[in-house]
């Protein structure tokens, strides 16, 4: 159980980032890349400042900056949102690998960074935040003027525009917020859990977060629940492979694939009934018909 609360927070934050962006009508395949920037910036920030919280803030900022590029490409220049997201992932892969080499002179891992302090159950404050933030996000989306506007802009942007809501700036804000959340997710990986940056981060967690978002029907609570479910699968996998390691090393690969296979299964079975926001991924043209 304790492992779940360790593994879930990165997924939860990134999945919430996905929900924020897509409820506003912008597809965000770039979560993986934003997490990667966030994870690296958090480790670097923590190492240079000596404070893990400064690291988390750096991670959030880095995620937001990456998201800013996505917003600029997809909203201002109306690039295809999927392509823009994929491009962001590829840039993150290359650029962060380069930065790791340039800053720390390493191809594998950064030096150990100051890690977030843990309570007597072994959890950092971010783990508890991962429980609280989905609820706050839900309340915000359901009960505040801003949340209502976000939902309207993701479903029928022109209707929102006729009521004086500025569609593109609102969407850009949501994409940036999505980057902040994904960046914090990445920071949770590096300064929260591992205590250093690893060149393989986030190892597909951004895509798992996308799956959690879809599985959770684009709602904050649903996406968070799905993230916890995937984290549980991940924890189970580690337990199983740990106990079986002595018996048969060849089985390990199969167990590693378990959470991903489970993701596929879940999507194949439950996804048929979910519905994306109506204007998700559709560029908004102010004077189109």
């Amino acid at each position: 159980m304790s492992l779940i609360l360790d593994f879930a927070p990165p997924l939860v934050f990134a999945a919430l980032g996905g929900v924020l962006s897509e409820r506003a009508g912008v597809v965000n395949i770039g979560l993986e890349g934003m997490m990667r920037f966030g994870a690296f910036a958090a480790a670097a920030g923590a190492i240079f400042s000596g404070s893990p919280w400064v690291g988390v803030a750096c991670g959030a900022l880095a995620g937001a900056a990456a998201a800013g590029v996505h917003a600029l490409l997809s909203l201002r220049f109306r690039a295809d949102q999927v392509v823009s997201g994929i491009a962001l992932n590829l840039v993150a892969l290359g650029l962060v690998t380069y930065l790791l080499q340039a800053v720390f002179g390493s191809a594998g891992v950064s030096p150990p960074s100051p890690a977030l302090s843990r309570d007597r159950f072994g959890h950092s404050a971010l783990a508890y935040a991962a429980l609280a933030v989905p609820v706050l996000f839900h309340l915000w989306l359901a009960h505040t003027p801003a949340g209502l506007r976000v939902r309207a802009v993701g479903e029928h942007p022109r209707a929102a525009a006729t009521l004086g809501i500025r569609v593109l700036p609102l969407r850009a804000l949501c994409v940036a917020g999505s980057g902040v959340l994904a960046g914090i997710g990445g920071a949770t990986l590096s300064v929260g859990i591992v205590g250093q940056f690893d060149a393989r981060m986030p190892a597909g967690q951004g895509f798992m977060a996308l799956a959690a978002m879809v599985f959770g029907k684009w709602t904050p609570l649903g996406a968070a629940a799905a993230a916890f479910f995937f984290a549980a699968a991940d924890a189970l996998q580690r337990q199983l492979s740990f106990s079986l390691r002595a018996a048969d090393l060849r089985l390990e690969g199969i167990f590693l694939a378990l959470p991903y296979a489970l993701t596929l299964l879940v999507l194949a079975s439950g996804v048929g009934r979910t519905r994306a926001p109506a204007a998700d991924g559709v560029p908004y043209e102010p004077e189109g018909r």
């Binding site: 309340l139 209502l148 209707a159 929102a160 009521l163």
Partner: protein, 505 residues
């Protein structure tokens, strides 16, 4: 002072001049009718007035104050409210959420739900518009959605109300009710701009009527000094509109469509079909009347193979196309569906591509397995000319055509795009069309009939049914409530539509 004043509005889309120096004014307490054909520039003018488009020239003033161009918020703040032809409601949101969107009453940073709901209910009640404020907007009927739109504007304190084609999607009874509402709103001191091409309704609602043609204002006259005939002439630029061809007695053709005891539930909660039997002969038009939701949609979908059903269904004696739209098309079923934007056209494609859809693998649209661009272009020019699609440009994006021209496009493809159809299923074929376009679609349906097709036309417009049909069948709760001759009165048909008379004509 005028509540709304437009002066010298110019708006261009690329090389196309949609509005060429239009000036209009509406005073408080007045209903100004604005009429014009599809594509004349009515909707563009509305979009400029409310700040959704910024004009290339001219000024918009509200209560004498100039509004900044391209700023919807300023227009709203100045008391301008628009009810668009294609409603601007967010379907998954509730009625009250749609109404308050953008101007949410707040308490402690959150939406003050209780205050919002009670304000919205109060506005609706005061204006005599019945609404369930907690319903999801997407679940409402078209008429109820329109009431939401009106309440939305009134709640925002609109003193100038612009209604863009407000009756296009309404049944005659609903349209009459709307005209009453509009008169009441004007009597309260609001200014109303009533944009439509349905002359009868404009004449019923408006104090003055302005006519716009090809982006230019051609006349403004008080209601007492004009009539439908004169307005139609002004809209089309002379030449008499109307003048329908006399009905040719239909031949005693062979039965093309035979349906026996069709039954199937509707997923929308309506009765669906409950044992409907009917037949249509070659060379005749069967009109289908009925109040919305009595099985019309299901019937059209069954006949075009889109919906499987229980019961017997044969076309020229052959049951093959049952539940298979591709087979139905091969068997010669043409379909003019009720919502062409969603069900008949691929809006991002060009006009000529849409004309070829469904026959895109046959000559003249294709050569073996390649698209025949020259052949398609030639055919597109022919069809565009025949059906007067505007702009007459095969490569234009279909989404940029006005609603009426999109509907003409569908009629062109379905009725003339290939070999002569055996069965034509037309659902509200002229809803939203101006008189000129309506005449063309009606002629095309008559042509199809004269060439031996069996035509089944579903409509709410009793005048249309009487003008075209050889027989009128009345649907009631998924069954036939009986048939009536084409000269049946409103009253007779109305009683049958309510299921009160088991009439046999």
């Amino acid at each position: 002072m005028n509540a709304l004043e437009l002066s010298g509005i110019v708006k261009r889309f690329g090389p196309l001049t949609a509005l060429d120096g239009v000036s209009l004014a509406v005073a408080a307490g007045e209903v100004l009718g604005l009429v014009g054909e599809n594509g004349a520039g009515k909707s563009t003018l509305v979009s400029v007035a409310c700040g959704l488009y910024s004009a290339d020239g001219g000024k918009v003033r509200a209560d004498g104050r100039e509004l900044p161009p391209g700023d919807p918020r300023a227009a709203i703040d100045a008391g301008l409210g628009v009810v668009y032809q294609h409603f601007m409601l967010v379907p998954p949101l509730t009625v009250w959420e749609n109404v308050i969107l953008g101007r949410e009453p707040r308490r402690l940073g959150a939406i003050d739900r209780r205050r919002a709901r009670s304000q919205v209910s109060a506005v609706a009640r005061r204006s005599g518009l019945s609404l369930d404020v907690d319903a999801r907007a997407g679940d409402l009927s078209v008429a109820a959605q329109q009431r939401v739109e009106i309440v939305k504007q009134l709640w925002r304190g609109a003193r100038v109300l612009i209604l863009d084609e407000p009756t296009a999607l309404l049944s005659p009874q609903e349209a009459a009710a709307l005209v009453e509402i509009v008169r009441a709103l004007a009597a309260e001191g609001r200014a109303v701009l009533f944009v439509s091409h349905k002359l009868r309704e404009v004449l019923g609602a408006a104090d003055r009527i302005a006519v716009i043609r090809r982006g230019r204002l051609v006349q403004v006259s008080p209601r007492s000094q004009t009539d439908a005939q004169q307005l139609a002439e002004a809209m089309t630029g002379g030449g008499r509109a109307g003048a329908t061809r006399p009905r040719r007695p239909s031949r005693d053709g062979a039965v093309v469509l035979q349906a026996r005891e069709l039954a199937g539930l509707s997923e929308r909660g309506g009765p669906g079909l409950r044992g409907l039997s009917l037949h249509v002969r070659s060379g005749e038009i069967l009109g289908v009347a009925g109040v919305d939701g009595n099985g019309q949609t299901e019937l059209a979908e069954v006949l075009t193979g889109l919906r499987p059903v229980q019961g017997g269904l044969t076309l020229d004696g052959d049951p093959a196309f049952h539940g298979d739209p591709a087979a139905a098309r091969r068997a010669g079923v043409a379909h003019l569906p009720e919502d062409p934007r969603r069900r008949a056209l691929c809006l991002p494609l060009s006009v000529e591509e849409n004309l070829a859809l469904g026959r895109h693998a046959q000559a003249p649209y294709a050569l073996v397995f390649l698209i025949d661009r020259a052949g398609r272009r030639e055919m597109a020019h022919k069809l565009i000319e025949q059906f007067d699609v505007r702009p007459p440009e095969p490569s234009a994006r279909t989404a940029n055509l006005s609603g009426g021209n999109q509907q003409k496009l569908v009629a062109a493809r379905e009725l003339s795009g290939g070999s002569a159809p055996r069965l034509v299923v037309a659902v509200h074929p002229t809803r939203g069309l101006d008189p000129g376009a309506t005449r063309r679609v009606h002629e095309a349906l008559r042509d199809a009939r004269d060439r031996g097709a069996a035509v089944l036309m579903i409509s709410f417009d009793l005048d249309e049914l009487r003008a075209l049909s050889d027989r009128i069948l009345v649907l009631f709760e998924g069954r036939s409530a009986g048939e009536a001759p084409p000269d049946a009165s409103d009253e007779q048909l109305g009683r049958m539509m309510l299921g009160q008379v088991p009439a046999r004509a």
